[in-house]
Symmetry: none
Subunit: 223 residues, 4 copies
DNA sequence: AATGAATGAGGTTTCATTCAT
DNA sequence: TATGAATGAAACCTCATTCAT
């Protein structure tokens, strides 16, 4: 229905499409959608493992247990698949970040970030796609749009915490947000190369340091 | 000048071409090295522009004005070429960072970093190779070795500035160094996607913010 | 008939093309096998003519009227193709040797051998692959397995004829079988270089000589 | 004098070049010749190990401790080198076969053959070149010429032994010689693939069998 | 006499993509 | 809806050969 090459696709769930739509919270899901998601997941795992150019359609397909043709059936071409993957990655990222976003506890936020990074292929794939985005305008556009939205929300959170006195206000909120985002990116960047720098207590030290650096200086002095 | 197909080579020793000819009897030894460097430079530019997998030997060769065979003549294979490129990049980076390293002025250091990034292909290539290092152990080894050396030097500088009171000492020097390195990496990572975030005054704001975050809290309070 | 680029394929099922079309619903399954056989045949001819290393995938493909990609689609790589070819050659060889194997007439057997050799590319390809087997363990394994099976059957035939008094029994059956096999190999080896040694009557003389050498000595004396 | 990088090498033994020429029986030997021989030997070893197409000039050169250029300096091209190698192989073969050729003892002849085969690369290289001769007329010519000369000498020996009653005379001498040559070729052909068939006593059994098959039938009956 | 830098053709292989079924 | 056979371009790499030195 939202894909280009599925002329008869809409007819399958004509019995009662809505009950599905309701159950799974707004997503028009069906066999088609779930198969597409399988492919997306396989794509993420493959890109994480082998990089963008290493993730051939054949490999993605076989990891998902489908045929090569299936991939090009569900996605116009490789670029389209990768675009879908990237949007999907941002979707999941947003979901995770939003849960408890209201709490405004930065430490908890970092903990979640760490869990995401160590647990899944998501960050690895993100990183690989970022490298590819340098050459693929379609990907760059997605990054610009979604990443700036992410930073905007981060900025809002920081601003809120500046008002409540939890975060220093002698640096503009958007600058602090940028620094936090850059830090997280920088860490994620080196994580696969030197994972030992991010184990156990050292990760906590890094987190503590960030919190210290952005806390109001007065607080630190009093301590 | 003495090579058949190296038009650019002649510009290298334009100071006094004869002294070379005279000094080196028989075969031109220097040519080998300079040709190799030509190829390295072409490789860096190509990787920066097209990424690791986009930088085919053909493209690198033709950018250097040579044939594909020449590349594999100078380097055993693509991996060897890329290894050489990465070491070369770190060499140049070290050289740049070491100049004025004794001064210990972080602001100056950031300014140099910014110049490097905006001026050349070097950071772009670094980033692309880092993404590739995820899949190529030989590259990962180089990163581990040289990046940790870089962080060690940065840590030493930070420690020195902690002793002189310029940098806060309530966070371990190696943690601060790591944060600075990660910040720089994170910035470099997003720079090609959203260059507008790093123009003119904003880059200064980011730099100032870092300096503020790592200065002793007391200093900030007094201000 | 149902393949795009297989002009020769149509000749295979000229008996009644429709029964295939009717029998197999959906995708044409048989085509796959027949196409594969086309490629095998082309491979045999090419190896016979140009040797193992001369038989590039490009040449094999174009002889079969296909693209290079088709070859690597049907066979994982060149080695796999050659393995398939060798097994195929042994299969055909076995088939031919088995027909009338029960008769136990060695002269007839030699005649068949001669027909095989002069008629087709099979022996030429066999010989080329044997030379290659020296460097390719996978081929060597096939030779060991199938060639020893062939000698075993030959030994059984010889033993049978020893019991019936047609073959001398003062030499062990397996040794005689080995000699016969070696002779055939040696002839086949020189055949392409000096074909004039194996024409018409001289081939018969050679055959007669073998039969004389393995007949019971008493028989020869009486003559 | 016999080292690689001596530009003035030819001038070194100008004292009396003839004594060498005399000592080594008519061969115009000198540095040039010995270096050439080094390359030939390296070529034989390389072809034996890797086959014709696997024996690149680079590999041959480096095995001989020389540069690639040296090979093309001493031989017009690869084909010329291989021709020289093949002639050289036949030369050595002839030398070995001629020693004691007068004795006419076939058993001793087989023993020597066996020693040659198991000891050296010579037969392996021969076999590889024979396979290549199929496609290279220049090699085929050499085989025809030298191999037929070899068979002629073998025929003469057999004829002599037929007259002395050691060999059966109910088969023409040239046919027997051909069979012996073919047997030897056939054995050599399979030797690298199934060496276990030619160890110790089994080799003796094979030899004995040949002798039995070519001995006068009367002799065998009396036994 | 000898070197080795450089070439360019050709090898195997992988890949995204198309399309008949 | 989904498959998978087939394509053809392009990748990396090796090689025989040439030629200035």
């Amino acid at each position: 229905m939202m894909t280009k090459h599925a002329p008869a696709a809409a007819f399958e769930d004509d019995g009662d499409p809505d009950d599905q739509t309701v159950a799974r919270r707004g997503r028009p899901v069906g066999d088609r959608e779930s198969k597409r998601n399988e492919l997306l997941r396989a794509g993420i795992a493959t890109i994480a493992e082998l990089g963008y150019s290493g993730a051939s359609l054949r490999k993605v397909a076989s990891r998902a247990g489908h045929t090569t043709g299936a991939v090009t059936y569900y996605f116009q071409n490789k670029e389209a698949m990768v675009r879908a993957i990237l949007e999907h990655l941002f979707d999941e990222w947003d979901t995770l970040l939003d849960i408890g976003g209201a709490v405004g506890d930065l430490r908890q936020r970092f903990r979640r970030w760490k869990e995401m990074n160590t647990d899944s292929d998501q960050w690895m794939a993100q990183f690989q796609l970022l490298a590819q985005a340098r050459h693929e305008p379609a990907l760059a556009e997605i990054y610009q749009r979604r990443y700036s939205a992410y930073r905007a929300r981060l900025t809002a959170t920081v601003a809120m915490q500046q008002r409540s006195g939890e975060v220093r206000d002698d640096i503009a909120a958007d600058i602090i947000a940028d620094q936090i985002a850059a830090l997280a990116d920088g860490w994620a960047m080196m994580f696969p190369i030197e994972p030992e720098r991010f184990v156990g207590t050292r990760m906590d030290e890094l987190t503590d340091a960030v919190l210290k650096m952005i806390e109001p200086p007065a607080k630190a002095v009093r301590r």
